[in-house]
Amino acid sequence: MSKSLKNTEQVVDTHCAAPNSSQTKDKGLSLLKYMLIGIVFGIVFVKAEIISWFRIQEMFRLQSFHMYGVIGSAIVTGIISIQLIKRLNIKSIHGETINIPTKVFKKGQIIGGFIFGLGWAITGACPGPIFAQIGSGFTVILVTLISALAGTWIYGKFENQFPN
């Protein structure tokens, strides 16, 4: 494959919350590392009871520090990590400069954010815990997942008609 083609793949997708800046193609077994990180993540979600509808209710009722502690310390860890990566110019294992695309402000972060918050308090789950809930045996949450996919699809279908 020519180098120029590789570069055209680098167009940053502004819709994507989880942009992929990798220029190295992951295939086969090297993809498994992402599943492993996901497994650790899922275990933490269950063990710290983040998948619990009750914990989310406690959070929105300001009756427990637990979820604020989890999210807050995750952010602090993330800030320190990214500052270290930037200041020490740490490269990816493939030798690439680490790229964090800029998020562009849109009205969607206000309107869509609020709508997501409504759903978060009903389901007791953001998208990550939905997957962990299904895996941990609350199989009926598959229906929540399908509804979430429907919500995503409907947004995509009528994207131009929503203020942004």
């Binding site: 990798s22 992402y34 269950v46 710290a48 989890v70 990590s81 309107i111 869509g112 299904i134 995509g156």
Partner: protein
């Protein structure tokens, strides 16, 4: 070893769980130059299954298979934690939350999820419509409209000091407070709680 299993079976405190979740950010960046975000997986599934010529779902989703493997791993992790590392004791929920929820008609506090809502028996009832259909729809619609969820905005976005993500996170919380304190009670009453 038995001691270790016993220790790991206890619920993990926030100061263990939070940093572990935060470490997902540098892990994904260093291992694959990838930004952390989970609601994107919903978009990739739409793109893979029902793109229907919609611009939002027309892209090379195969390049993002890593994200789908990540959420598959999250489900497997949930399975492992529940089956091999499960906490033998019942969940401890704050007293005030219990009494608030009792007033709404919730009586069973023995599991991670209230059994009177989250079971197949409630699926074809008003409760199922509210908690699975409406709830799930709002999560999927809202996260795509906001271009991210708790992971992509609150954790990845704020960690990289991006103010649009801080705004998104503030509105996630406002939406949650509004639902919990204003809408939840009438909603639950309407489905015979």
């Amino acid at each position: 070893m038995t001691q270790f299993i016993e220790w790991i079976s206890q619920p993990w405190p926030w100061y263990v769980a939070g940093p572990l979740i935060g470490l997902t950010v540098p892990a994904l960046l260093i291992l694959g130059n990838k930004s952390f975000g989970i609601s994107s997986s919903l978009r990739h599934i739409c793109a893979a299954c029902v793109p229907a010529g919609i611009p939002l779902f027309t892209y090379n989703w195969k390049k993002e298979i890593w994200n789908l493997l990540f959420v598959l791993g999250t489900a497997i992790g949930g399975f492992i934690a529940m089956n091999f590392l499960a906490n033998p004791d019942t969940i401890v929920i704050s007293e005030s939350t219990q009494s608030d929820l009792r007033a709404l008609g919730i009586t069973n506090f023995s599991d991670l999820m209230p059994a009177e809502i989250f079971s197949w028996n409630t699926l074809f009832s008003g409760k199922g419509v509210v908690f699975f259909l409406i709830g799930g729809f709002l999560v999927g619609f809202g996260t795509r409209y906001a271009e991210g969820c708790t992971s992509g905005h609150a954790i990845m976005g704020i960690s990289s000091l991006q103010w649009p993500s801080l705004i998104a996170t503030i509105f996630f919380m406002l939406g949650g407070f509004f639902m919990t304190h204003i809408l939840l009670e009438p909603l639950m009453k309407s489905v015979e709680f």
